[in-house]
């Protein structure tokens, strides 16, 4: 990563290891970045007094003022487009998109400007901005509040796309994304916001754009990210009771995809199940399946299987339990893989 490492001595963490929710870890991470770098600004709808609809920016405006935490007009193209201008002026804007389904009014700015300015100017302009998107379903919301649009962005060259799945990653990844000189789409698993975990604020974090093996196993590899990490870990724990050993890899980075650990794992297990909430057609899960069969063809004991949301609009919330992959669907795919 080209960005200079920051002195974080000002981020006053009382204890090195704290138990935090993902939401609070993100809040602390944003705060640490803002303290370390006066050019970091947070902008979006309701991020100021309200602290954002999920309270991720809670208290930041009170402490950093209205010029560093901007309650913007209600316009996503405006939020992202002005952030581009701020970024090329030397700021490091962190834009909050209130819900996944509302990124599309800003889509044009993201794919036309955010993604392409560096290339178009052959590096003369950098666009170091972060677009934070609470994504995915499972919270009983109405239309447009439960989508998984990450594949659109992974499909666009010039953008980096990451997703955190636990408080420690949330704390560090948001700061690393802000430090990154490239534009980063930062997908936050909203239904996991209030899950707790330990965050060590002193231990050096691993690189941002690397996937991580969370659980080792020998029978089947599960590859996943964001909200489905929890589901996959639970499935692996359940499978263990039946005497099956599943390896679980959290991708963390969706573009660039870090598949080296996946190849290595599949060469050992011979079996891969990809788990995402996003629909499967022409998606990140398609990409993983294609690359793994290309790289691990002779190691595979079964075709790569995918457990995903369906290729339909996100359904009314009374049906989301059916739509979202759950433990049973993951285990069913594991059975099918092993039965091959």
């Amino acid at each position: 990563m080209a960005a200079p490492t920051m002195d974080r001595s000002t981020s006053a963490a009382p204890a090195a290891v704290q138990t935090l929710t993902i939401a609070k870890a993100l809040n602390n991470g944003l705060r640490a970045s803002m303290e370390a770098n006066p050019k970091v600004i947070v902008m979006g709808e309701d991020v100021g007094k309200l602290g954002g609809v999920f309270r991720i920016t809670d208290g930041l405006q009170k402490d950093f003022g209205e010029q560093r935490v901007l309650d913007t007009p209600l316009a996503e193209s405006g939020i992202i487009g002005t952030a581009v201008g701020l970024a090329i002026r030397g700021y490091r804007p962190v834009c909050e998109i209130q819900f996944d389904g509302f990124i599309f009014p800003g889509f044009d700015q993201i794919v036309s400007q955010v993604a392409k300015l560096h290339f178009r100017t052959q590096g003369r302009l950098k666009v170091p901005m972060v677009i934070r998107v609470p994504f995915g379903g499972g919270i009983g919301a109405v239309e447009h509040h439960s989508e998984s649009p990450e594949s659109y962005f992974a499909h666009t060259a010039g953008l980096k796309v990451v997703s955190c799945s636990n408080p420690a990653d949330a704390y560090w990844m948001i700061q690393q994304a802000i430090d990154c000189d490239d534009p980063v789409l930062f997908f936050e698993p909203k239904r996991r916001y209030y899950e707790k975990g330990q965050v060590d604020t002193t231990a050096a974090p691993g690189p941002l754009f690397e996937s991580r093996t969370l659980r080792t196993g020998t029978d089947v590899t599960l590859v996943t990210y964001g909200p489905m990490v929890r589901t996959s870990l639970d499935a692996a724990a359940a499978a263990e009771e039946e005497g099956r050993s599943l390896e679980v890899i959290d991708l963390r980075t969706l573009s660039p995809l870090d598949l080296a650990p996946v190849y290595e794992s599949v060469r050992r297990t011979g079996r891969l199940v990809v788990v995402t909430e996003a629909p499967s057609e022409s998606s990140i899960s398609s990409e993983i399946a294609a690359k793994v069969q290309q790289e691990c063809f002779y190691s595979l004991q079964a075709p790569v299987l995918r457990v995903t949301g369906f290729d339909t609009p996100y359904p009314p919330s009374k049906l989301e339990e059916e739509f979202l992959p759950d433990l049973d669907r993951v285990l069913h795919a594991v059975d099918r893989s092993l039965a091959w």
């Binding site: 006066p38 402490d63 209600l74 369906f310 009314p316 009374k318 059916e322």
Partner: protein, 397 residues
């Protein structure tokens, strides 16, 4: 900061910039800005229930008509409060309260003719009522069983639109179609009305909707309910100019009406629709009103607004002023008010019963009607899912 200098670490003594607390004068000025509509505000019935004249927009209203408007407002308020309570009891996932905006919606809705078309946002329960959509039909959206079950063609009431501003362009296109079909030009013409909030006026879609409607002379009434807040952000965060004045920049009239005054809203909207039918549209109406409850049941307004503000607006309650007027005119007696209360109670009971008995949709609903012409890939996915699902039938799933 004047140059794109490389960022530096803050020095040890760099004080964080903190937002200054507003002074008492600023707080009072802010309250006033919110609660006064200004000299151009069209009003026909004061908050005290006095009928006042307006040179351009006066209307004749019979006792019966006014009682009808009163009834509409009381009933939609009761529906709104009941649905809000149903959310609190866990029967609805979320509710979007209408409280305080009854006059804006009933005034506008009752100005429409059956052949006119309406494009709502997501708070337009009062408009739905005037379009003959049963309140129960709204529940699926908020209970999560469906996306709204009314027939938009039959009722000429488009589905609720949640992405802010999207419907404004759709309405512009619909109104262009009315024009292309020759439905504009005389008193029998058709018109379209489109609803959105003050926050929505910041969206590109709304700006583009203004441009489209203007250059194609579309018969479209833009009806902005300025309820003073876009979740936590006041209207000042969206505009330096009163919103109705923006219309001028697009080349059509903009009018600000007292959105808590059902008579004024009815009169102004009737006039605007008539202009559109005759071919003189589009027109922007800013209904100056107030959201008396939270943005939705997920919102916490105590974080961003003062209770004084709500108290001020309570004095302008849209229903109370009509009641006072009806009483003063001796156009309604106690028996009338009691009969409306009884009717409201009955509607609330029906709403509650319907809500708690609304069945969950079958799993196949996920796949139904995604395409008009079918899609073999999706059909295969559906069949596989239903077979998998059937494997659990009777099981623990």
């Amino acid at each position: 900061m004047s140059s794109p200098e490389k960022w530096t670490h803050p020095g040890p003594d760099a004080a964080p910039a903190t937002a200054a607390k507003p002074t008492a004068e600023q707080v009072i000025a802010g309250l006033r800005a919110t609660d006064e509509g200004g000299a151009d505000l069209v009003q026909l019935l004061t908050p005290e229930g006095e009928r006042v004249q307006h040179p351009d927009f006066d209307i004749d209203i019979t006792a019966e008509e006014l009682r009808g408007l009163y009834r509409d407002m009381v009933l939609v308020r009761r529906v709104d409060r009941e649905a809000n309570a149903l959310q609190r009891k866990g029967e609805l996932g979320i509710w979007v309260p209408l409280l305080g905006q009854e006059a804006a919606q009933i005034g506008a809705g009752r100005a429409l003719r059956p052949e006119d078309m309406a494009f709502p946002s997501y708070r337009e329960h009062g408009i739905a009522w005037t379009r003959g959509v049963k309140p129960t039909e709204l529940l699926g959206i908020f209970r999560g069983t469906d996306n709204g079950t009314w027939d938009p063609v039959e009722h000429r009431f488009h589905p609720y639109t949640i992405v802010i501003g999207n419907q404004v362009l759709n309405a512009a296109g619909y109104a262009m179609g009315q024009k292309f079909d020759g439905k504009v030009g005389d008193a029998d013409g058709e018109a379209t009305i489109c609803f959105f909030g003050d926050g929505a006026t910041s969206q590109g879609d709304v700006h583009e909707g203004f441009v489209w409607a203007a250059v194609y002379d579309a018969p479209l009434v833009f009806f902005c309910q300025n309820n003073q807040w876009a979740i936590s952000e006041p209207t000042e965060r969206q505009s330096r100019l009163p919103l109705y004045q923006r219309a001028r920049g697009y080349g059509f009239p903009g009018i600000r009406v007292d959105g808590n005054d059902v008579l004024a809203t009815l009169a102004v909207t009737r006039w605007a629709l008539e202009e559109c039918r005759q071919g003189n549209g589009p027109i922007l109406i800013e209904a100056f009103t107030y959201r008396m409850d939270a943005h939705t049941t997920s919102d916490d307004p105590s974080r961003y607004r003062l209770s004084d503000e709500l108290e001020l607006w309570k004095l302008k309650d849209p229903i109370e002023r009509v009641k006072v007027h009806l009483v003063k005119q001796q156009w309604a007696d106690q028996a009338f008010f009691e009969s409306i209360e009884a009717e409201a109670e009955q509607i609330a009971i029906e709403l509650r019963d319907y809500c708690v008995n609304l069945p969950d949709p079958p799993a196949g609903r996920i796949f139904s009607e995604v395409y008009a012409e079918g899609n073999p890939v999706l059909e295969a996915q559906r069949d596989e899912f239903l077979a998998y699902h059937a494997g659990f039938a009777g099981g623990e799933h």
